[in-house]
Amino acid sequence: MLRHMVAFLAVVLLSLPAAVQAQQAEAPAPIDRSATGGAQTLEDILARQRGEKIDDTFRREGNQGSALPAPGLGPRGAASDPELWRALRYNTLEATVSTRDQVGRVLVQDGGMGWYQFRQGPLASYGGWLLLGTIAALVVFLALRGRVKLDYQKTGRTVTRFKAFERFSHWLLASSFILLGLTGLLTMFGRSYIAPYLGKDVNAWLLLVSKYIHNNVAWAFMLALVSVFFLWVWHNIPNRTDLTWFAQAGGIIGKKHPPAKKFNAGQKIIFWSVIVLGGSISVSGLSLLFPFQMPLFAHTFEVLNGWGIPEMLGMGALPTELAPQEEMQLAQAWHAIVAFVLMAIIIAHIYIGSIGMEGAFDAMGSGEVDEAWARQHHSLWLEEVQAKQGGTGLEGAKTPAE
């Protein structure tokens, strides 16, 4: 179900720029094909080269025309077989290929240029600005709000916030995600921002290293994702205290610190973002690693068509027969879109867990937080810990290491 939804959202998002572009572009004037009896003309070719959308029904479905009469379009030295070339163009030829590679059986797949333009255009620019905008917003926020400081004096008594295995899982997830993010960004932006300055050889080497790191570190990320899910899912189920947290904007704005259990509502948003978006990135990443064994989109589109969702949104039926290349193009686009969103969320998470809040890093660093910090940010959780320890105070609480 999840992969169906993410695949459908990918198509909607992918179609947005094209739809906007189509609305902005003026409708091309109809092409007069009388000189070729309805066959392709030089104007058709030039229009495609200009990037205009051409209705190719006249070619796809065959016709009685011939390109021969058109100046400059006739074959030289041999007779042309338009039916053969049409079948090659639209993959309807009963051809036998020697390779066992499924990609090799697709003779012509013209989605590559559209995918490349989307990747280098809207995807790279919107994604890049999203990350830079997030960092800029945090810098402004820090300048205006300042660091969230402790309101109370430190007690010198600490409580265990996260056990060793919890911290291990967190850092396994964090380190793998940072590596995946950096190598993904190198892959996305290397050609534009590294090759012109450091040279193509350096960029090629970085891409090769990035590919190895990205493809293999992904397994550590997925393992850690499963681990943190089972460790913290129980604590991240929404409850009534989250409403109070939202009502007080989490204590970030102003001086109030709303009560919270082990995780406050903001942390729950982070948790579920990591699980859902990280899970989606994992699924699309697996589809990219094993495109022939794990195609993602064709089956999803079939299901969505069956539910009638494209029609409800005013779209035509989604394609249910996709070449392996198309599967990979869609999977890569979705993989990158979701990764950009998750990177922006994680940048904010890193901020609040380090420079944004005094004492926050201790929770994942040493695992021990001062009682004053716990009372300020997770008062309900502190009460639970105290109750388990059998006292109202923290008589049994640990003292900080010297």
Binding site: S98, D101, W171, S176, V217, W219, M364, G365
Partner: protein, 41 residues
């Protein structure tokens, strides 16, 4: 800080292990993405 260092090291170990295991199983990217007739040996 030990779990933090262990987590980072584990990411490296798991990655190398995955690379080795996938290669042994014939699931390396070279095997997945190229046919014998186009592979440069």
């Amino acid at each position: 800080m030990k779990p933090m260092i262990a987590g980072v090291l584990a990411a490296a170990v798991i990655s190398v292990g995955a690379w080795y295991a996938l290669g042994q199983l014939g699931l390396s990217s070279q095997n997945m993405f190229s046919g014998s007739n186009v592979r440069i040996e």
